[in-house]
Subunit: 315 residues, 2 copies
């Protein structure tokens, strides 16, 4: 069985290294790090023990990769436009694609390209950064919640293919939980992502700073309540107490920079479309205006535009 | 007739210099600039012609000032706590206080201290900066809209005292317009101040940058609509088209940094209480939640707290 990793960064590099070091045949697609990794390998520093992959199946072009039984998509969603050229040849006809991305509609991006493929969504609870070429620092956590994509907003249940993915992850020492309701799991994660990602960028602050100042704490809670309300309009029942549970859990974590803050500070484009615009549109289509989230989206759009000019990238 | 100016900055220095250069007996209270102005005078650079006051009645303590017939309050509202020690001895028993400040409840601050005094609110349409000790640069505009404070939210009408103030301003070449409805005028100004002041600080942007990017333009308009809605709940009828008029007018102005942006960049405390919290509370008491404005207020509170640490001032 061959496993392909699209995007060897903080997420794809970490999980790919765990799979490879546990005996799986893993093939890594990467961009800027290709030459370094081909020469020096991949290094994951981790509190669970470092992983040093000295020989890595590294590629800088998807067309050079073998067809894979399991393909893990770990790109930033801002690069999903690349998938239509990468996926068709890479995924075997009966292959499975696991999408380890944030936001709403990320499985649909894959399904549109490969209508017959099994698509599994994965929600990572992971603190990990890429700190240099081929060098990933794993800080904490690491579990993945996976669920199969049904093609629409209905739960797909616990399928045989999903159990296969869970088994593979489990054999690589990746803590894995299965959900029968991926759309609900996606919205639940948005309850955290929409307040914390946006405000961390706009206010240049980590989770602890946002939580410790009462007005920003209240704003986090207001946005969470709005996301829960949006989810409910879309048919995903999330208890209103879920917000306080999330806030309490985050308060007990170490100070943490959400992924969008890391992207912003590195001059990378922000995942505004999948983390903000998609859920806002979904709620709007169901008759609910996420007014606070729309305001945050506008602010992020402004900052992204300016950051783009600073970093010299195109929007 | 004696005129007292409390706060000889971009606003008080400008209007005070116009009054003094037109023959009025003006007494200026100032803080850090006192020694400079006492020695070198007050200099207003203006496109309408410079004003050089070589001899200035300058004070650094209100207790040294003579009793005045007309007292102009041109402090930042963040310093209104000082008024209770300054005003009682400064204002003659039948004197008039003109409050040239932004936000809601600024006249009430004076009325609480001097219940018998005539209090007039003034809304300045002025682009002016203090650029050095005793040195004010007048960039554009300069008119003042004045209305008498009735003690509550009812219009006071065009009173004799109001006409007196208008006459004095007019004789000093200050374009002046009288309003019979000060509370309405205050809310109308908030329709501009609440979106532009806050977003200019949060997004580090001038009026032009906020207007030119469609998502921030839409957010400006959403906040304006919310302020108009808040005003209407408080009994102030503002037409919904007022927002577009304001936006069009601002688009035609030169790029401009709102006063709160200038305060933030200079490390000064932000006028969050009068420009945001008061109107939000007023609308809330009338049954309307200004949710976007509350979010902006929380963000400003966070940035003000951090700015306070940077500038070494106390919150």
């Amino acid at each position: 069985m061959k496993i392909g990793i699209i995007g060897t960064g903080a997420v794809g590099g970490y999980y790919g290294a765990l799979l490879a070091s546990n005996g799986f045949d893993v093939h890594f697609l990467m961009n800027t790090d290709f030459e370094h990794v081909a020469k020096h390998g991949l290094w994951v520093e981790s509190k669970n023990g470092d992983i040093n992959l000295t020989t890595v199946n590294a590629y800088n072009n998807a067309k050079d990769m073998p067809s894979c039984d399991l393909v893990i998509v770990a790109l930033k969603t801002t690069h999903n436009y690349l998938l239509k050229d990468m996926l068709p040849a890479l995924v075997k006809p009966d292959g499975v694609v696991v999408v380890l991305q944030n936001g709403l509609g990320v499985e649909a991006d894959v399904s549109e390209i490969l209508p017959a493929a099994t698509v599994v969504g994965g929600l990572c609870f992971l603190c990990s950064n890429k700190v240099g070429p081929g060098h990933i620092r794993h800080l904490d956590y690491g579990s993945v919640r996976i669920g199969e994509h049904s093609g629409d907003d209905r739960p797909a249940g616990i399928t045989e293919k999903l159990k296969c993915v869970a088994d593979i992850f489990g054999r690589a020492s990746i803590p894995v939980h299965m959900t029968d309701n991926l759309p609900l799991a996606r919205w639940e994660k948005l309850v955290w992502n929409m307040p914390f990602n946006g405000l961390s960028v706009i206010l240049d602050a980590d989770t602890r700073q946002l939580i410790d100042f009462p007005p920003s704490f209240n704003l986090l809670r207001d946005i969470m309540a709005e996301v829960i309300n949006g989810a409910c309009h879309c048919g995903m029942e999330i208890d209103s107490q879920f917000a306080d549970l999330m806030l309490t859990a985050t308060k007990q974590m170490v100070a943490y920079n959400p992924s969008m803050k890391l992207d912003f500070d590195a001059g990378r484009p922000l995942e505004i479309n999948k983390i903000y615009k998609r859920p806002i549109h979904a709620a709007q289509a169901a008759g609910f205006e996420m007014r606070l989230s729309r305001a945050i989206t506008a602010q992020l759009g402004f900052m992204d535009m300016r950051n783009c000019g600073r970093s010299g990238r195109s929007l």
